[in-house]
Symmetry: C2
Subunit: 181 residues, 2 copies
Amino acid sequence: MKIEHFIAQSEGTWRSMRSGHSLAFQQFDNIISNIKIELLSTKDNEITSLLDYYSNLNSKPISPFRISWEADSDWGEQASETDLASGSSIFIPVPKSNSTGLMIRSLGYAERQKVICNYTLLPNDSLELITEYENSIAEEQIWFASKNVRCRSSIIRISGSSGILQTSFASEIRRMKGSAN
Amino acid sequence: MKIEHFIAQSEGTWRSMRSGHSLAFQQFDNIISNIKIELLSTKDNEITSLLDYYSNLNSKPISPFRISWEADSDWGEQASETDLASGSSIFIPVPKSNSTGLMIRSLGYAERQKVICNYTLLPNDSLELITEYENSIAEEQIWFASKNVRCRSSIIRISGSSGILQTSFASEIRRMKGSAN
């Protein structure tokens, strides 16, 4: 699988069940969100202005996309408690090889800032993203359990230490009629 | 990594935070348990009697171990509600190659019965277990996020369909003084 296939397969609307595990406090954090993944054009203004910021790229950006999310307000619990309850981020892959490359993100995952991460498509077709922030390193893995179920795990480490702050796991179900196939 | 190294690294007592996601009902199920993983001898009575049951093995069993678990009763919620709140299972690896083999389990994960599964140690050092039960197929992946943090994800599929019943994710923290390194 190439990155553009992985992204094409991800396009659509998803319902996400996400559990965060805070390891030091042994606390669970469950949230249900609606997620939309849409493909963009490399000519879109948002993309060109983000690319202007990163001028030293050695290869060609491809298959940019936007992820928007909104916590399900009917579901209660954490919804609207934090500024993470809704938002969107743009992603621009810049392949280095068939299976590796850089990924520009307009909004990071562990720290809310513009960031570049490294991606690798593993032999089992899961996508690994590693992002080094100022104070932490986020390792994310995303894979398709079936055509309509995507799984996503993450580990957030403290920079310069082997300590782990948090893990999380999300089951994302494509929004359509019928069962989760 | 070989299977015996993976098992040796797993030995000890762990505190597990586990989240189950029921996809059809979009329900979360969080539980904290204490887990003990102990190495056994291939000469132990429990091991030899389990091996007697599986007489057609083509290679030599190695590194058998027992996993015992008990839900944290102080923590409440699901503890003691089900017969899964505490229990133990014996595992006997029977390698076929450096990275693959069979694993005999005295008690299955998705269905509570004696079972043989297939294991594979993936290039990224995670251990994949695939177990075919009568009505379901369980795919589990276990990896070390650090020396003292193990992660475990599972997907339970309906046999003969692409439907997914449940996913789960556990963060297992080695029980010792200090932070989770």
